[in-house]
């Protein structure tokens, strides 16, 4: 066998057929579905008189529109409710496994899939959602698709695509105190830019990646899309295998042994060639805070808001000016002087159990600053919530003045009732700081869970490495 990258291995094992021009029909093992990007696909299928190819490959969950407060009353917004009801009825009608709103296993699709063992190494995983890259943490080829493709996968179990180029992101060394997977990936995005990974499948490797937990690896792969890469991935090792053992959808008994033997081959071979390699030194990474309206607009917490005057490229200068105006920030303001109005700990980037533990670690025995109007913790799934409550983390959050909510996407994109008021500034553990992302005229600063918790306590950003 020739020397291959992890991406080569995943790609080659899923090509059903290939045209002369390189367009391939790629088989899909796992199809995750949520309520926002699926209704038109189900409808298209129905209009064409088609049935899903393999319902067993589909796992559905509503996450974007669900309320994070008391759910016994259902969803108040009729438009949101219709979308969730539509998912329920489509799944019921076609016999698709769905975790409904009242199910403890309900949560953000990218938290639920891995937690259930529905995401396995060596799989192709798709979802009508760009953060599907998250699942690449398990050495799966996982990427977001549009609704037409959701319909295509349902109807044919395949996708038409061309192979991407490959990029290796190598992070060697040890992360410093208070520095997390989130900071690591923000540094990568800051360096290569939000379009730096466009057209690439990105593999993260190196000792700093190896040292991350699965939760941390998911945070990293989750944000590969913010660097423009449709897929991010990390090789299998013992951490991967330990995480998957005994998960409900994971293989058991002899099949488990057989699977593990195969999974251990899922890494780039020694000497494998990548189209591009970028290197980072983990020791140099500091806690990060975004200042602008794109995830690449990021600086270390001990840095300052940039000065457009110092930017020579006119397109970049105007984009900095535009962002600063939107964000209501003055050039050269030290990051630690930026006051926050609200704090959001949640999203498919940072709402897993480890994230909540890390934030609770900062909050224990402390209280949210009086200037902070609202601090909320939204677990990634019902099971994460349950686990956190078993560990008493809910008490830590509530004692500190946080609201402890039901699982869902929540204020990551503010499609439900959770949103910022115009002009409000939020320390958020989510993944996008686009204009209007957390509500009209909202201002988002992306940070790690530790940094968000520390900002809640201080009322402004602080360097958690120095606490």
């Amino acid at each position: 066998m020739s020397i291959q990258t992890l991406y080569d291995k995943l790609w080659n094992s899923h090509v059903v057929r290939e045209e002369a021009d390189g367009t391939a029909l790629v088989y899909i093992d796992r199809h995750l579905v949520h309520e926002v990007t699926s209704p038109q696909a189900f409808e298209g299928l129905r209009l064409a008189g088609r049935k899903p190819w393999r319902t067993g490959s589909i796992l559905a969950v509503a996450d974007h529109n669900v309320p994070t407060t008391d759910r016994t009353q259902g969803i108040a917004d009729p438009v949101s409710r219709l979308q969730v009801d539509t998912l329920d009825s489509n799944c019921d009608e076609l016999g698709i496994t769905e975790f409904k709103m009242a199910d403890t296993r309900q949560g953000i699709v990218h938290v639920v899939g891995p937690e259930q063992g529905a995401t396995l190494p060596g799989m192709t995983v798709v979802c009508g959602d760009s953060h599907t890259s998250t699942h690449g943490a398990f050495a799966a080829l996982a990427f977001g698709i549009g609704t037409s493709e959701v319909e295509h996968v349902m109807a044919t179990q395949c996708l038409l695509m061309k192979k991407s180029r490959s990029m290796l992101v190598l992070v060697e060394g040890v992360l410093g105190k208070g520095v997390t997977a989130k900071d690591l990936v923000l540094v990568v995005i800051g360096k290569i830019g939000t379009a730096g990974g466009t057209g690439y499948a990105m593999e993260f490797a190196g000792s700093a990646i190896r040292a991350l937990s699965m939760e941390g690896r998911m945070t990293v792969c989750n944000m590969a899309i913010e660097a423009g890469a449709r897929a991010g991935m990390i090789a299998v090792d013992d951490t991967t295998i330990q995480y998957l053992k005994d998960r409900p959808f994971a293989p058991k008994g002899a099949l488990w042994e057989q699977a593990v033997d195969y999974w251990k081959t899922l890494r780039s071979d020694e000497g494998a060639q990548f189209d591009k390699v970028v290197r980072f030194d983990a020791a140099e990474i500091k806690p990060q805070v975004t200042w602008g309206t794109s995830p690449e607009m990021v600086v270390p917490v001990d840095g300052s808001v940039p000065d457009p005057e110092k930017e020579s490229d006119p397109v970049r200068r105007s984009s900095i000016e535009h962002s600063l105006k939107y964000m209501g920030l003055q050039p050269n303001t030290p990051i630690t002087q930026i006051q926050v109005d609200k704090v959001f700990i949640g999203s498919c980037t940072n709402a897993r159990i480890e994230d909540l533990r890390a934030a609770a670690g900062i909050l224990r025995g402390k209280h949210v600053a009086p200037t902070v109007k609202l601090a909320m913790a939204v677990p990634g799934s019902g099971l994460v919530k349950q686990q956190a409550e078993r560990e008493g983390l809910d008490k830590v959050f509530m004692d500190a003045g946080f609201e402890w909510r039901e699982p869902g996407c929540s204020m990551c994109l503010a499609m439900n009732a959770d949103k910022l008021e115009p002009g409000e500034r939020c320390a958020s553990t989510s993944n996008r700081n686009f204009e209007g992302r957390q509500g009209p005229a909202s201002r988002t600063h992306l940070v790690s869970p530790e940094m968000a918790a520390a900002a809640a306590v201080a009322g402004h950003f602080v360097d958690v490495g120095k606490l």
């Binding site: 760009s130 549009g146 109807a155 044919t156 379009a195 466009t198 293989p251």
Partner: protein
């Protein structure tokens, strides 16, 4: 799917880099379970001075006169001229749906985000990648001339300016064929049912845990 062969259309310049899908169609409009009707909310936050919600009568909302789509000279635009990394962010196909529903047939930019780029082809919307210098030239020409139209010919893979200047562009042959003929991807793939079944049968033996 709608065919795309040749478009002779009024060109609208949107002079911003990294235009993301949240800007193209804000999330409150994603709650729809339909594919159509997104046009009036295309670029909603830039286009209107108030905050838009589903179900509002958009014809009576206050327009932002500064925004390019609201300027009289750009009414009826079919070609959008944009800057780099257009369509970054989410995978929502609502973004191309909104552009198509508004009346756009093609977008010209130096680069596009991957998923958005892909989604365009599925909806008969042609994304054209042109080098940054040429795009910049077009931006100057569009703003200098009222009623500026470009002709995009997919068969020839060319863009022609009113002055007769021609730019050629690359397009994937498979996608080009689908657009020229308005072919439905699913129908095409289903011509290979047997190969998919054979693949599946082989995988059931090699990796049975995938079929639990």
């Amino acid at each position: 799917m709608n065919k795309f062969i040749r478009v002779d259309g009024l060109t609208v310049p949107l002079d911003r880099a990294n235009v993301d899908t949240d800007a193209i169609i804000p999330k409150q409009f994603l709650k729809s379970i339909k594919r159509t009707g997104f046009g009036p909310n295309l670029f909603d936050e830039w286009r209107y001075l108030d905050h838009g919600e589903p179900g509002m009568d958009n014809s009576i909302r206050p327009l932002n006169p500064e925004f390019v789509l609201n300027q009289p000279r750009y009414q009826g635009g079919q070609i959008l001229l944009a800057r780099e990394n257009f369509g970054c962010g989410s995978s929502r196909e609502h973004a191309p749906w909104a552009l198509v529903d508004y009346g756009f047939r093609a977008i010209i930019a130096p680069s596009f985000a991957d998923i958005f780029f892909n989604n365009c082809f599925k909806n008969g919307l042609l994304p054209v990648v042109l080098d940054a210098v040429s795009v910049d030239d077009l931006f100057h020409a569009v703003s200098a001339t009222s009623g500026y139209r470009l002709v995009i010919d997919l068969e020839q893979q060319s863009i022609t300016t009113p002055g007769g200047k021609r730019y050629s562009f690359e397009v994937d042959p498979f996608r080009k064929n689908c657009l020229l003929n308005g072919l439905d991807d699913i129908g095409l793939t289903l011509q290979h049912v047997q190969e998919i079944k054979d693949y599946e049968a082989r995988r059931r033996l090699e990796a049975p845990w995938l079929f639990n």
